[in-house]
Chain length 361, copies 4
């Protein structure tokens, strides 16, 4: 046979079955298979590279991950500083709060009788149920808490930190909001108005017309300033949605004001949506490079999988392989308790962008 | 052969090809075929039923519909009052503004070289391009406009009405924002912080720390009060995302305060996402009934299709079949120019829910 | 503004709504929008180019298109020689036969009670039903017919021609099998063993151990020889599956024996499957070029859409735009009635490949 | 709070991360989360139930699983009799043969330059490559082998057994064909004509007009007779395609001739296709019940996932949990070496269905 083509260098190595493999060993074998299995293995490797490098790691989460049983994985990722900043839909934070407050979601069939459920005031998320009565109690709980706050505008970052603190004080239970509160990891929720947390805030407003002021434009400024302060960043996205774009926007917005910002250096997404209908959730990481959302030399992996399969496997694998890296890692230190946050001791303004004119090093 | 089963009543009638059929005639023939073709035909019928009934019709739009060439269809639907209230992502309004201001999106291959595009500062949305330089000019234009506004909190509804007015005054061109302004159709943008309109507002903030105040909690209150004022409603959703949920949330939130509200009476969605991963974008309309987002006896149709195929066909069909219905229709009349909007002459508060305790008629 | 980028040449032109547009006019406007709408418009243009050129056009069909109401569109495409050779799943031919014999499929909900249907012996295909009793009668009808044939091996091409003839004689009704019979368009069914036509043949075998002999390897030889005889070819695929690959395989196999064959010159696919899981149904047309299934300079369009939406629109558009081209077109002439078929008067062997050693012209 | 609803019985238990969990422990935790993670856990449980019960287990495989690195998992499932009968696409068997013969597939990017690949005669399957030259050698090898066989019709079951034996003799390497040969597990390939194995057979025909006779109608009869002989069956499907339907068809066909057959008792599918376009690959297991493909009380699980993620995890989990069950299991014993196969010592005819008129026990 003629000389091997330059294209044919690394053979597929068929996966061989063993019962006692741990998640990281399974993923190690998946590095040499194909399609999404290979991508998931590459995601494991890439996340470790992010942790080895000196980057601020953003995690975006959309889809019903909290209701679907992944909230303690996200809490674990936050508590152990696999990530440094969370951007979430409101629903994921709300369903997290629901369980942290001692309530539950419940298993069901996706073929449930929705009229019967409506009759019993039970809400369905595909194959998962929750009690509307308990949701109403959550809304009231949020409204009551929000009504106690000093009546002024809050970024979602500040509000969610306070909410996490209140949740921790009242429950001493674990969860996403609590883990972020305790680890001083900022949470942004750009679409908070499209969630039950927003509904709770609107009910606070109903009680007191000066309550429930949310300054989402301040969130844009703060998130961009985080990038300006530390221009080396990474994006990890579960499920697309507003978090995916908001994390990218932070970088694009930052670049307007600082020439040191050049797009995320790493990008990892686990999505089920596809690129060919043009929506942002399914958009490719290559496309993101055209916008400067990612640097053109960024390392990137896209995995097409339901997060309820991919994330447990990935998180368990990291739990075996990442601890030595985490031990060496110096994650950025935030203070979040007040109106104006800080990163590494430096102020992160909410009302003006930090302008940086020097060239990148 | 034995007596026909009760299940076997309405035969499929194979589609027969003719060259001179108009869109409504094509859809009429698709009523008796199967799968998504039948659903699209049913969508045409359902939309006409909404227009015949006395309901407030919400339209949600997500995905890159404006960049993708559908913005004048949406403008047409607004101007002719096929719909009464728009809920949109920020990107769709921004890309609409971009073209209304005389700029363009451009055709490209989805296999474009993103590094080369980044080098020329061109942003890609699958197979469609835009100039980043022009986007920066838009951002400035929005920032300049926002900085001229009296510095106080604005709901997105109020801000976008003002923005549409400014756009109309300066361009006298058609588009979504302009059509809504001219037809007094309210626009809500719950995730405005996750868009270039939000970026423009943040840049206004940078110029003036009191500018760029957006009251998204007020949007929740206003949208629910619209439903409380007129409890019979319909939901039309293109592409899922935050608009889909926000329209449903308006109904759920309204029901807390008014026993006359009982979920949308009609629901039509054109989506590409699927239910089985649990995300809201792809969630079924049956599931929405469990939540009370839709009434349990609502008429509903879900079409699995890219809107760039389904919407042109549907809108052209309606243009032939709906005008007599539109002529009879009495759409709700809004005033949107000030801090507090009205519907049918009644105030729609932004800081408290209108409580209605009477039983429904 | 600086000089326009070479990338920004052809602006998106937003679709404008008019009620009296015909399908071709709708598609003409969709040429300048984005995503799958643009692709469907490009498909219309590409099919006309195929008809203008001197190529043999293969049509592949998979998915439940016949049961779903598209069988008379396919019959129309065959009768009017928009296509020259059909490759189909067995189910599509069987459901076509079912209706040609005067029976029906029926409209239903996709949420039908399957236990109740099973109880009444009704078979469901998503939102479409059929009577099992009628299916059993079809199977018997096919078995009876097959048992009358001289007991020797038949390619599916020969058998399906005979079946079409028998169907025409007994029903004088239109359909895919009948149209192909009357227009002398060959049909291949490589997976006939995986269908109710195969089941009918197996029942003929049960009656007579020498009946029901199908020579599918002969189909491979014949299909490749068709390409060798006329090396300029085009592939149109609806839904992927075995037809998609078989059409490509014909070209690849032909190339082994004739240096004049160089892959299909045109390729058009309307699919719903995606590339990233590695399956052939969703594979990209670019990938097909690596294999030589398509020539590297082939014109190609891939549309991501349910065929029940895309095909009615596309076929109606062609019915307005293609007739002058069809009038000029000289489609290849087949004879199919005997053991050995011919194309343009030349024998198409079933037991050896036609070897062509000359260089291409 | 009021009494708990009957719907709210089993709470979601959020997945908690640990590094040293094995696959079965990971899946055990996924039993109480949602969406496809829960379904994959249920698949693990269901497969064990199949092994506990006295059923013949069919495994269907479609999609590029062999090229993609899963062939030794399938070989392992066959060798350890997790399954009793394989139905496969031709491509999966061909790519298995390719590697068993000592050749490889290779890792690549899905964005490879297909013109460059074509130029070097390298074939791409999404992110995986193979040498066309080696493929041509395989085709020749198959053709040479097929030409040595006694010239008479072979079911794919018989031919593939002989091919597996030849492969074992010449390579002494493991793989799907070899494992099935050595374990006396029958393989059916209903769409063999749509694969490179079919191409090899057609090239044997080219050498000798009496070679390459495949009796696919005999495959239908044999597969149904297997079900008639042992009416309790189970279906496991990876990826849909012709194997999915063929396994179902075996049961439906068997039921025509034996009242003891009542549809598969268990069904498990791991697919990426969706039901709402009507195709068989994505069709729901509920729909299959209407046809009698599955019994109306069958236990069933559908997992929406790429098999390259789901199957390694599932197979490793079974390797820990199933061995005691396998040790007790008495799988059906086949003889496959001759024209007519047997199961449990009873003849499985290929030219007539075994008619059973007694009522089921």
């Amino acid at each position: 046979m003629k000389k091997k083509s330059r294209f044919l260098q690394t053979p597929v190595v068929p996966f061989t079955v063993e019962g006692d493999l741990t998640a990281d060993q399974i993923l190690a074998r998946m590095e040499r298979i194909s399609f999404q299995g290979r991508n998931l293995a590459a995601a494991h490797r890439l996340w470790r590279r992010m942790l080895e490098d000196d980057v601020t790691i953003f995690l975006g989460m959309a889809g019903a991950l909290s209701a679907g049983g992944l909230r303690l994985i996200v809490a674990h990722l936050i508590a152990n500083r696999y990530v440094d900043c969370l951007v979430s839909t409101g629903a994921n934070l709300y369903h997290d709060l629901h369980e942290t407050r001692g309530q539950h979601h419940f298993l069901a069939s996706p073929h449930a009788d929705d009229a019967a459920l409506a009759d019993e005031q039970i809400d369905r998320v595909y194959d998962t149920l929750a009690s509307e009565e308990e949701f109403i109690q959550n809304d009231n709980w949020i409204a009551d808490f929000a009504a106690t706050l000093e009546p002024r505008p809050y970024t979602t970052r500040e509000f969610l930190y306070q909410l996490g603190g209140h949740l921790w004080t009242t429950t001493h239970s674990d969860g996403i909001l609590v883990a972020a509160y305790r680890a001083n990891v900022p949470i942004f929720c750009p679409a908070i108005a499209d969630s039950s947390i927003g509904m709770g805030l609107s009910q606070a407003r109903h009680k007191n017309p000066r309550a429930g002021q949310i300054d989402i434009i301040g969130d844009i400024v703060e998130s961009a300033n985080i990038v300006i302060r530390r221009p080396r960043t990474a994006s990890i996205v579960l499920g697309g949605g507003t978090p995916k774009n908001f994390i990218n926007q932070a970088s694009v917005q930052a670049e307007f004001y600082s020439s040191q910002v050049g797009g995320h250096r790493y990008a990892l997404q686990i999505v089920t949506d596809v690129p060919h209908f043009g929506g942002a959730s399914g958009s490719s990481l290559e496309e993101a490079q055209s916008w400067g959302k990612l640097s053109t030399d960024s390392a990137k992996v896209s995995v097409q999988s339901d997060a309820t399969i991919a994330l447990p496997l990935l998180a368990c694998a990291l739990a075996n392989t990442a601890p030595p890296i985490l031990a060496r890692r110096k994650p950025p230190v935030f203070t979040l308790a007040s109106h104006v946050m800080t990163i590494e001791g430096q102020t992160v303004f909410r009302d003006r962008f930090e302008e940086v004119n020097e060239s990148p090093v």
